[in-house]
């Protein structure tokens, strides 16, 4: 395995060829904020929170899909990056209806945690207050579109790990939304195996176990890791 050496925030880091900057940073104990990335599923580079600066490249590069190269100099923190990250989070909070006080994920939400970590303490954009519904037709799970950030993590686990291809994105722009099958109520789905992986994958209060009330929705991400390792490495974590 050819090794690549690079620096991240001035710290020398060695990485394996083919690794992403995000992987290399994580291995070196450096945190880069992410939202659409989920260990074990393919990356899409959509949320843009993981953008980093690389010397010699004028554009900002998404760490989750950028491969390491020899001698690369990466910066994960700068005033500019912080400003961008905060603004991206502001845009998300203004986009749908994130009323944390009555959300199942309150206190355990990746979006909330990101806002805290990035110091996003207020939103300067006009709240959109779009009228979204909650789908609680499924026997075990619920989907609250008001909390969805369209990271597509649920779609990717459903397709590439469970292989059920139940979840998808429909519509475009601000009208994009997560659908079940051909836009049916989740409870009517004939393809959903009720495996619950999408619920585990969701970063916010958008997908939840029915019956969880405010701040009660806990996720068990190790379940995803278990399946991915079992599938890819044929090892069963105990």
């Amino acid at each position: 395995m050819p090794v690549r050496t690079l620096t991240i925030d001035g710290k020398p880091v060695s990485a394996v060829e083919g690794q992403t900057v995000l992987d290399a940073a994580q291995d070196a104990g450096i945190t880069i904020p992410t939202l659409c990335h989920l260990d074990g599923v393919s990356d899409v580079g959509a949320c843009r929170l993981c953008l980093v600066e690389v010397t010699g490249v004028s554009r900002l590069l998404p760490a989750c899909v950028t491969k390491v190269t020899e001698g690369m100099e990466v910066r994960t923190e700068s005033e500019r990056l912080k400003r961008y990250r905060r603004m991206i989070l502001e845009l998300l909070f203004a986009e749908r209806n994130h009323v944390c006080a009555v959300c199942v994920s309150n206190g355990r939400c990746e979006l909330q945690n990101l806002a805290v970590a990035q110091g996003m303490d207020h939103v300067r954009f006009a709240y959109r207050f779009p009228p979204y519904e909650v789908d609680i037709t499924h026997r075990m799970f619920g989907m609250d579109h008001n909390r969805c950030v369209l990271c597509s993590r649920c779609v990717r686990v459903c397709w590439f790990i469970e292989g059920a291809a139940t979840k998808n994105v429909a519509g475009r722009g601000a009208g994009a939304r997560i659908i079940t099958d051909l836009s049916q109520p989740w409870g009517k789905s004939e393809t959903c195996t009720s495996c619950g992986k999408c619920v585990q994958a969701c970063p916010t209060g958008a997908k939840f176990h029915k019956g969880s009330t405010v701040a009660e929705m806990e996720r068990d991400r190790s379940r995803l890791e278990f399946i991915v390792t079992a599938r890819e490495k044929k090892q069963w974590i105990v």
Binding site: V44, G45, A46, C47, R48, L51, R59, L60, P62, V65, R83, Y84, M87, I88, L91, L92, A94, E95, R124, F125, A126, R128, V149, L150, S152, N168, V169, G171, R172, G173, A174, G175, A176
Partner: protein, 549 residues
């Protein structure tokens, strides 16, 4: 089919040509004002006048001055009739033999025509786009023959490199370099894709090429496929172009029948098939990675690059993707040589560019001019300025990704770099002229509305950012915004430009940024004073305000 057969078809076509020709425009512009009926009645009038042996009536492609359509040209007399109605047919035919006609004539000595230089449009308005013989008679497919018989793939690429041709789809990437990259890739399968999605509001250059000279595109694609080692091509056309699609279908069928597509093209060991894919009308599907996803039957959303299509494109194979106009330049370059092409245009922008002139301009239509022609020549001379004695205020190029060039900068030459310096882009060739009645903030909002609607929704800065940009522009136009909102607008433009995933988001702020740069006053005039804020630009106290109260 080989060169001798091509020449024989050409010779026969020229031999059977009648002394007098009436060329009727049957491209979408003139068709929409009854062009087909004009041609039919001319056909009938010629029959009735007993002139069928001497006069032929031919449907041709766009003759450029679309605003005066339906157009009919007379050869060899050199007359252009405009706004022809079916009832005019008899008098036009009578005029061929010394009779009188009241139909108005276009001035072929107007700069609109004389300042044009045709490469891409050389056959447009001249040949019948539905007959391959007509294209062959104009030396069509000879370049493909030259390439296959006399040139190695590498020599073709070298010619394109030396010609200095750059992509006409917007970004201006050197075409030869792109071809060389695809050619270098080791892969049993490669693809060539023609991007004919043309989604910019006000742009119709690519449509005209497809409708007026579809074989030129096929020939350009075949040469490209030979150069890069591909055997399958796709043309991705938007569904809103039914006439273009049907002419392409006809062209592909004819080319196959004549052994100019398929296996053993021109009796060489070269196979190339072309299929049409129809886009469902999403602007973002013009972005190359979204376009390929769409061809594969996936949701048309862009993905991060690298990998670039040249390395990993359609069905994960190396793929060459170029714009219609880019391919349309290729046969001429191969036939006339790279030096000839490189002699046209400016140092860094070679050849010509086709523009679709639209908006507040007297002569609406298609123009093809050498790179480096000034905007003033295009707008004031060729386009004859704004109608009704109005003043040209700005010219918008590059559609929703471009910017507005103010009238004071009209001496700018059109080339990739000069337009970029002004905060606009060459774009694919839409050129929208605005006069003093146009409010520039409104223009910015119009384009933002477009981008907001067309965002695919995948990345946050573009999906949610364009919505907020639109809301801020709307607020300014409703006179509810303050200087703080303007600051937020600028901050958000910076975010969307630098963090979006694809070109749509990355360029969506351009119309705002360029109007802010040249017409900032129009924004400031709409701002309201900040309550309790110190006076500043846009914050001046109202004249009737009482400071002592």
């Amino acid at each position: 089919m080989d060169l001798a057969d091509l020449l024989e078809i050409k010779e026969k076509e020229l031999r059977t040509r009648k002394p007098i020709r009436l060329r009727c425009c049957l491209a979408a512009g003139c068709m929409s004002s009854n062009g087909q009926a004009v041609k039919d009645s001319l056909d009938k009038a010629v029959q009735e006048a007993g002139l069928a042996d001497e006069v032929e009536v031919r449907g041709v492609g766009c003759m450029r001055l679309c605003c005066e359509g339906p157009l009919v040209a007379v050869d060899p007399a050199g007359i252009l009739y405009q706004k022809v109605a079916p009832e005019d047919a008899a008098s036009i035919v009578a005029a061929l033999k010394g009779g009188e006609t009241q139909v108005s004539r276009g001035d072929l000595n107007h700069p609109f025509f004389t300042k044009q230089m045709s490469i891409v449009l050389e056959n447009s308005g001249e040949i019948d786009p539905e007959r391959i013989e007509s294209y062959i008679a104009a030396d069509g497919y000879q370049a493909l023959n030259d390439a296959l018989v006399e040139m190695e793939p590498k020599e073709v690429i070298d010619a394109i490199l030396k010609s200095g041709l750059r992509g006409r789809g917007g970004a201006g990437y050197p075409t030869g370099l792109k071809w060389a990259t695809v050619a270098k890739m080791q892969s049993p399968k490669k693809y060539v894709i023609c991007n004919a999605d043309e989604g910019d509001p006000g742009a119709f250059m690519d449509r005209s090429v497809l409708e007026s000279d579809p074989h030129r595109l096929l020939e350009g694609m075949a040469i490209a496929a030979y150069a890069v080692g591909a055997d399958q091509g796709f043309i991705y056309v938007r569904a809103e172009y039914p006439l273009a699609i049907s002419r392409l279908q006809t062209a592909i069928k004819q080319a196959k029948q004549h052994g100019l597509l398929g296996s053993g093209v021109l009796e060489a060991a070269f196979t190339f098939n072309v299929e049409i894919r129809i886009g469902a009308g999403a602007f973002v599907c013009g972005e190359e990675t979204a376009l390929m996803a769409s061809i594969e039957g996936e949701r048309g959303t862009p993905r991060p690059r690298p990998p670039f299509p040249a390395e990993r494109g359609l069905y994960a194979s190396p793929t060459l993707i170029n714009n219609v106009e880019t391919f349309a330049n290729v046969p001429s370059i191969v036939r006339k040589g790279a030096e000839w092409f490189a002699g046209i245009g400016t140092e860094k922008s070679k050849g010509t560019k086709v523009f679709a002139l639209a908006g507040k301009i007297t002569n609406t239509g298609l123009i093809e001019v050498p790179m480096g022609t000034s905007l003033r020549t295009i707008v004031e001379e060729m386009g004859a300025g704004a109608p009704d004695g109005n003043q040209v205020k700005a010219v918008q190029t590059g559609g929703p990704s471009g910017g507005c060039v103010p009238a004071s900068e009209l001496d700018t030459p059109v080339d990739y770099e000069s337009l970029q310096q002004l905060g606009s882009i060459m774009g694919s060739g839409g050129m929208i002229v605005m006069d003093q009645t146009t409010n520039m903030v409104d223009v910015a909002r119009f384009f933002m509305d477009f981008c907001m609607d067309e965002s695919c929704g995948k990345c946050i800065p573009c999906r949610a950012g364009t919505v907020q940009l639109h809301a801020l522009l709307d607020r300014i136009l409703r006179r509810q915004a303050t200087a703080r909102d303007l600051g937020l607008l600028e901050e958000l433009c910076d975010l969307v430009k630098h963090t979006s995933l694809c070109g749509l988001g990355q360029t969506a702020p351009n119309p705002v940024l360029s109007t802010l740069r040249f017409f900032r006053n129009e924004y400031l005039e709409l701002l309201q004073p900040e309550i309790g804020a110190p006076a500043g630009p846009g914050n001046a106290p109202k004249p009737d305000a009482n400071p002592t109260r």
